[in-house]
């Protein structure tokens, strides 16, 4: 029973990660990739790239924080 519960729980985590990945790829596509495709004003381009990088970085850190929460607060409690 424990393994089945953990399996479903990890799948839900993967579903959340997938959803947020799509969200982040949307942000990256309208910031970094858009700038690479259609470079325009320098300031705006740098700003777009910085926002894109910050979002992607925050996603990676958020993923780790979420997994820690999942393991220690949900699975090991």
């Amino acid at each position: 029973m424990g393994l089945a519960r953990n399996l479903v729980s990890v799948m839900v985590l993967m579903l959340v990660v997938w959803g947020t990945f799509l969200l982040v790829s949307y942000v990256v596509s309208i910031t970094i990739f858009y700038t690479l495709e259609y470079p325009s004003d320098t300031f705006l381009s740098i700003l777009r790239v910085l926002i894109g990088l910050a979002t992607a970085g925050a996603w990676v850190i958020g993923w780790y924080a979420l997994t820690r929460f999942w393991l220690y607060k949900l699975l090991l409690e």
Binding site: W18, I30, T67, L76
Partner: protein, 323 residues
């Protein structure tokens, strides 16, 4: 599909020879999850390497299509790095990612890539300068990620099947016969080794095998242009590797990690409750439970099937636009 058949037969027939070779040359590792702690040869990856070499060479000979050669070269470079680890012991964990960048060179030098990946919501991009850098970074990341799930008997093979199955479906739907054939060569080679590597394992895939499979996945994703689907399908492997690095506070050798994520009692796996122990996929699956090795491997495979399905859905909805 003669290529795939040859890869299947070659890998299956070579595996017993590789087991014998591993014993003779003492390229062996302890199966730490068994109470009797047997010594198992780590040479299964060599059977895969030779099997896929036969398959790809047959493909080149029969169809005259050369795209398999850079993919094969990438895989063999990664496999050679893994073999050095299997024979000599662990390579410096900071040097290893740098060495694995060399696996990207055959793809980059031969130009077997299209620097126009299709990104969800944006469509086809033109990343002529950035894409080669991404290719170079992809090999160490994926190879190490695949290597990181090779923790139980059959776990690397069973968690890799869904990726290749997903790729096969996408290439079939696209009518990309070359990518379909190449993917099937790797899939059947893994299938052929599985009877020897499944619980209780008679041979380990070894680093030579897991790094080869990682390089194969990366090459197929790049050459077959399924980058986004591949990232999603490989989320469990990437998560496993990334969280281990984060937990340890950097790239460090597993040998120097004092807190183990998993405890073994009479052949059953239990998750460590220590907050300083690395976070791994297996630890999450075993949390608060007593799990036998076989069930744990099947659970890991189910998660890979799930993420491969998500990768397929993403590809069909956002890349192919058929949903």
């Amino acid at each position: 599909m003669l290529e795939a058949f040859i890869a299947l037969v070659a890998t299956f027939l070579l595996a017993p020879l590789m087991i014998r070779l591993g014993k003779i040359l003492r390229i062996q590792g302890v199966d730490v999850h068994k109470p009797w702690r047997p010594l198992i040869p780590k040479t299964g990856g060599l059977a895969i390497a030779i099997g896929v070499t036969f398959g790809v060479i047959t493909m080149v000979y029969v169809h005259g299509n050369m795209v398999g050669l850079p993919i094969l070269s990438s895989c063999l470079i990664a496999s050679a790095i893994g073999l050095i680890e299997d024979v000599k012991g662990e390579i410096n964990p900071r040097l290893k990612p740098f060495l694995l960048v060399f696996a990207s060179l055959p793809i980059l030098v031969s130009g077997a890539f299209t620097p126009r990946p299709v990104i969800p919501f944006l469509g086809k991009t033109r990343l002529y300068k950035v894409y080669p850098v991404m290719v170079m970074a992809a090999y160490p990341i994926v190879c190490n990620a695949v290597n990181s799930v090779d923790v139980l008997n059959g776990s690397m093979i069973l968690t890799s099947f869904p990726f290749f199955a997903m790729s096969l479906i996408i290439f079939y739907l696209r009518g990309d016969y070359v990518a379909f054939t190449l993917t099937s060569i790797f899939l059947v080679a893994l299938l052929a080794l599985y009877p020897y590597n499944r619980y209780p394992a008679r041979v380990f895939v070894g680093n030579s095998g897991s790094l080869l499979v990682g390089a194969a996945m990366t090459s197929i994703a790049i050459v077959g242009r399924i980058e986004i689907a591949a990232i999603i399908a490989l989320l469990p492997q990437i998560m496993n590797e990334m969280h281990v690095i984060f937990s340890l506070g950097g790239i460090k050798s597993a040998k120097y990690v004092e807190k183990r994520p998993i405890n073994v009692e009479n052949g059953f796996l239990t998750a460590s409750k220590d907050k300083n122990a690395p976070i791994t996929l297996l630890r999450m699956l075993c949390a608060g439970a007593r799990v036998d090795e076989k069930s744990a491997v099947y659970a890991m495979a189910l998660i890979s099937i799930f993420t491969a399905a998500l990768g397929l859905i993403t590809d069909l909805a956002f890349i192919e636009g058929v949903m």
